[in-house]
């Protein structure tokens, strides 16, 4: 049961009007050109921080507002509507969770306030091959004197262009762990990627990168999975927003575009496809908010629900973006129209953090199917 508090409703309404006002879809076109080397517009991020969004998962003791993932998801959904590019999720969800959920009190005190104020942005570096395989990390962190030495390569790290801090997954003698690595540390090499969704991403290479002993934030597969699940669920919320907006934009077009002397939305074949799509969106919405709620409550089935949410969001966003182009016809194929932007983001967001097939398999394993 998702019943929003008055506070959450206020938050959502604020996000809705800010996004409408400040981040039209055309803002993404500016990212392609003006902010290509940064991957997002830094002014917008500052405004998000001023509204407190960067501290939503951070305890009050460390300068945050501690409202939980459902609240963050409401914002992500609104951002997703207009394909807003920002390091909000990689910082305020992924990095914040990695620090909050870890057991490194010094880093909490050091990093969380900076995240909450928006002065520090971060990226999460996990994957090393073409597919999401968080259980199969080759990067290593080995103890050397009283610090760590990091080696390895990470591929397609979202928001790595603008990140001050990299949260890096590496294998230690005790298994997988996450490390906090300043992005400008010696031995860190960054290759900017020009991706179809126009957001900031980079390939990273770590060559004998020396970190303090205190750089280890937390360890163990369950810990890493929990951090990933928070990010996956938040990203699913963002994808839901993109889906909903693509749907609404398409419905508007169906209502107004005239062909054969009728608005095309009066053609039953399109009506029925739209009605079926409405059903898919309802299912996805339920899955997304169930996952966010379960993560907030640390429910046992939170990982299952997260995979459900991410898989459904991936499928539905892809399907909707495809329909958006098809129903718009030729104009939807042009770069000038927004439909292509939705398609490219749908694909990218699906691939990141495990695509629908990955999460179907994860779901099956949880249920011993």
């Amino acid at each position: 049961m998702i019943v929003l508090s008055d506070e959450q409703i206020m938050l959502r309404d604020m996000a809705k009007s800010w996004v409408a006002d400040r981040v039209p879809v055309s803002a993404l076109r500016a990212v392609r050109t003006t902010y290509a080397d940064h991957g997002s517009d830094p002014v917008l991020y500052t405004e998000m921080a001023e509204m407190g969004w960067t501290g939503i998962l951070i305890p009050e003791a460390h300068g945050g507002v501690d409202m939980g993932l459902v609240s963050l998801g409401l914002i992500a959904e609104e951002l997703g509507r207009n394909l807003a590019a920002s390091p909000l999720l990689s910082t305020a969800v992924a990095a914040a969770s990695a620090i909050v959920r870890g057991d490194n009190e010094a880093k909490k005190a050091e990093l969380l306030p900076a995240i909450a104020t928006g002065s520090l942005t971060a990226a999460l570096a996990i994957d090393e091959g073409p597919h999401h395989r968080p259980d199969n990390i080759a990067a290593t962190a080995r103890v050397d004197n009283d610090g760590w030495v990091l080696n390895g390569a990470k591929r397609g790290v979202a928001e790595a262009l603008s990140a001050d801090l990299l949260i890096v997954a590496a294998k230690t003698d005790d298994g997988i762990a996450l490390f906090a690595c300043p992005a400008d540390r010696e031995g860190v090499e960054k290759t900017r990627l020009a991706r179809i969704d126009s957001r900031g991403a980079a390939d990273l290479r770590f060559t004998n990168v020396r970190l303090d002993k205190a750089a280890l934030l937390g360890s163990g597969q369950p810990y890493v999975d929990r951090v990933l699940d928070a990010l996956r669920a938040a990203q699913a919320a963002e994808m839901l927003g993109g889906t909903v907006q693509a749907f609404e934009t398409t419905l508007d077009y169906l209502r107004t575009r005239v062909q054969f002397d009728h608005p095309i939305g009066s053609f039953q074949a399109l009506q029925h496809r739209a009605a079926d799509m409405m059903g898919e969106i309802e299912l996805t919405r339920s899955a997304v908010y169930a996952a966010l709620t379960a993560l907030d409550a640390d429910d046992r089935d939170a990982p299952i629900l997260t995979s459900l949410a991410k898989a459904m969001a991936g499928q539905t966003f892809r399907a909707m973006a495809k329909e958006m182009i098809q129903m718009h016809g030729g104009i939807g194929m042009t770069d000038e129209h927004d439909a292509g932007l939705y398609l490219k983001r749908a694909h990218t967001a699906d691939v990141e953090l495990g695509n629908a097939a990955f999460h179907r398999e994860r779901y099956a394993q949880f249920l011993n199917i």
């Binding site: 049961m1 998702i2 019943v3 419905l251 169906l254 209502r255 009728h262 608005p263 939305g265 009066s266 053609f267 039953q268 399109l270 009506q271 029925h272 739209a274 009605a275 079926d276 409405m278 059903g279 309802e282 299912l283 996805t284 919405r285 339920s286 899955a287 908010y289 169930a290 459900l308 898989a311 459904m312 179907r360 398999e361 779901y363 099956a364 249920l367 011993n368 199917i369």
Partner: protein, 399 residues
């Protein structure tokens, strides 16, 4: 009705409901369920504990927890009703009162009936004493409900009804029928009235229709010079269409929240492990099938979440009832997919019409699969639901 005596918090209500259930629900019925009229007909008579339980629930009004106490209901808030359902589920209890009267006619009489009609018809429904059936569809009308032709003539002191209905579910075991009849042949929707007919009236005959799975709860119902007292008209003459549309919202509401999926009782993965086997790592051996089972279970899971989501969001009952068309279609498809997968898992064992050579479970699953094809037809076809969604939810233009 002591629970009405003083305003309670939800937590107080939960505590008192839990106590009452502990005191009153017969342990022997644990894990049981509401017995449909046709199942009774097929021999599964309710035992003495069932009748005891039904009587206790009826006295409490908790068979229809949100209906007004004045008409036999529980007078609970939606939230309290949800708590009651949760508490029942917690101990394996169930609501022994159901049927079309509860799902559809009761709320409609409460909304459109005269005080006299409410007092006469609602309490027996609330107590589960009277079974109702629905006389809407006609041969030749199908999805185009308003083209119905069953004639109703005003004979001064009574109405005279002649015509034929179809798909009247459980008509052969029902006590009463709510019918749409034509009172004006010159207008389509505006010539329809809403009539309550006692099935024991002379001239009423219900014949079960055999379906593709060999059984049926649906009937053809014939009305030949049937005399209906004038007080059995619900609403005004020729105002039946509006009432029917409202009633159909209740139907969609009810159907969309039904989980048509219970017929594979042990679950698809279990069934697959038994009939297909597992590989070295314990996975269902057929990878292609396993992927489709997984995808189905995820949809079913998401659908269940959607129902809960909706139930939580809707307070007064029928807001957003058009959205029910979306849910009805989703639910039907999930249930149909489940049944398709079940028979695929059974393989050769899922080809049986009757024994020997097939287990009871195999025959039930096969028959259930055939029957499941009607989920996207009855209660408004998939196509009709999508038309409603397109028009009323998505505000797409008419042709």
């Amino acid at each position: 009705m002591d629970h009405q005596a003083a305003p309670q918090t939800d937590e107080q209500f939960r505590a008192s409901a839990r106590q009452w259930l502990a005191d009153n629900f017969p342990v022997s019925l644990k894990g049981g369920k509401y017995i449909l009229p046709h199942t009774q007909e097929e021999g599964e008579k309710p035992g003495p504990d069932y009748l005891l339980w039904k009587g206790r629930i009826a006295n409490k009004g908790w068979g229809v927890p949100t209906w007004p106490a004045r008409y036999g209901g529980g007078g609970l808030t939606t939230c309290q009703a949800e708590i009651l359902a949760e508490e029942m589920a917690r101990i394996g209890a169930f609501n022994p009162i159901g049927g079309l009267g509860v799902m559809m006619l009761g709320p409609t009489v409460l909304e459109f009936g005269t005080e006299e009609q409410k007092l006469r018809h609602v309490p027996p429904i609330a107590r589960g004493e009277i079974e109702w059936c629905q006389g809407f569809s006609e041969p030749g009308a199908g999805s185009d409900l308003a083209s119905l032709r069953t004639r109703c003539e005003d004979k001064g002191d009574h109405f005279l009804v002649n015509g034929q209905k179809i798909w009247t579910s459980f008509a052969h075991v029902s006590d009463w029928c709510f019918c749409l009849v034509r009172t004006d042949t010159s207008r389509k929707q505006a010539g329809i009235s809403f009539l309550l007919i006692d099935m024991r009236t002379e001239g009423v005959e219900a014949r079960p229709i055999s379906l593709i799975n060999g059984v049926s709860h649906f009937c053809e119902t014939f009305f030949t010079d049937v005399k209906v007292p004038k007080e059995n008209l619900l609403g005004e003459v020729n105002a039946g269409w509006g009432i029917a549309k409202r009633l159909l919202q209740h139907e969609r509401n009810g159907l969309s929240s039904q989980r048509n999926v219970a017929n594979v009782e042990r679950g698809l993965p279990d069934l697959a492990r038994a009939y297909v086997g597992t590989d070295d790592e314990g996975r269902i051996a057929d990878a292609d099938l396993r992927a489709r089972i997984t995808a189905h279970m995820m949809r079913q899971h998401a659908y269940g979440l959607t129902l809960r989501h909706r139930n939580a969001g809707i307070e007064a009952g029928l807001e957003g009832s058009a959205q029910m068309s979306v849910l009805k279609n989703l639910g039907a498809r999930v249930a149909q997919d489940l049944n398709e997968l079940a028979v695929e898992i059974l393989g050769i064992a899922g080809l049986g019409w009757e024994g020997p050579g097939y287990s009871e479970e195999e025959l039930e699953l096969t028959s259930g699969w055939l029957y499941s094809k009607c989920f996207s037809i009855y209660g408004g076809s998939h196509e009709v639901q999508n038309n409603i969604t397109a028009k009323r939810v998505l505000a797409l233009p008419s042709a």
